[in-house]
Symmetry: C2
Subunit: 195 residues, 2 copies
């Protein structure tokens, strides 16, 4: 072809905020071209220890067309605190939801900022969840078992005008896997084998 | 009063499965008599580290009419794995949901078994979650951001007939805070302050 087309191109985004922005954008493009790469499965195995103490192990997952193992196994203890008749050997199960939500929003904030060419200095999230235990204790059928509501407050500092930084948090929420699951729910199947 | 009423009483439940059953049942009775004790608030603070890596700290909570601190601070890293352009310094945010769900069901199984006088030998839960990342990558508006579904399989061994052990898992599900939140959703408010 002899035609000389000059395409207008944005300058490539450099790495920023600890995000390898070129690889992130190349990954999104690759998945766009081959959508079956986007199917992932995450897994965990939990073993009961004693009382309300249990231990979850996270080792492998599948996605991007293959099997993967994490760099190291993640081992996470959960328990009830003493006021709830446990030994406090780990966070409460409901506290793990707070970890999942804030960390999901935080990852999104870092990636979106990098893609938009904004450098972050500091980001902190505080989260609170209100729960009335009359539900799980079986003392009221009117009270739900889970949290009544969650509140997250972000403090964000970066080299962009306030409204741009607020848009990043908003966009992270709009593309957060955990925010979606917690606000919209997900079907859960439970099966039991007796040994 | 001169009347001599003899009440029929069940023998008190002894500690079992590492659960202090008498204290558990006394706690439930105390909360039944004073329902405001059931109001709890759980909290966490997450600080962005670099890239998709963030660190959550869990220290205190309120409930049972007062403030409490955990026996030790819990510090939890979250990150994306390398195939998702992270440094794999902790579980993925969506993997924390798997920890929360299995550990919540497991605590319930231990408590309910103890209250029913059933001794557990072993309990293990495997969980899988399917997710299509076309949602969070912004490549499809048809695909949700979060998990499409979760599947949990329990293997349980204890000194009761199979149907009694299966009933315990079922009852744990019926009184699980995390199962409720994940299947029914919860309102989440997000606010942002620019520093």
């Amino acid at each position: 072809m002899s035609s000389q087309t000059v395409k207008e191109q944005k300058p490539p985004r450099e790495p920023r905020n600890g995000v390898d922005t070129p690889t992130l954008l190349a990954t999104i493009n690759a998945v766009g071209a081959q959508p079956e790469l986007a199917k992932f499965q995450f897994r965990a195995t939990n073993r009961w220890q004693s009382g309300t103490h249990s231990r979850t192990r996270i080792e492998s997952f599948s996605g991007a067309g293959g099997e993967h193992t994490h760099v190291s196994d993640f081992v996470l203890d959960a328990d009830h605190p003493q006021v709830l008749v446990g030994a406090d050997k780990g966070p409460l199960p409901v506290e793990y939801l707070l970890v999942g939500l804030t960390s999901c929003l935080m990852s999104g904030i870092a990636n979106i900022s990098a893609a938009r060419g904004i450098t972050l200095q500091e980001v902190e999230a505080s989260i609170e969840g209100d729960i009335d235990l009359l539900g799980i204790l079986g003392l009221s059928d009117e009270v739900r078992n889970g949290y009544e509501r969650l509140r997250v407050n972000f403090k964000i500092k970066g080299d962009a005008p306030p409204e741009k930084l607020q848009e990043i948090v908003e966009q992270s929420k709009n593309r957060s896997a955990v925010f979606d699951v917690l606000t919209n729910g997900v079907p859960v199947e439970i099966s039991t084998e007796v040994a």
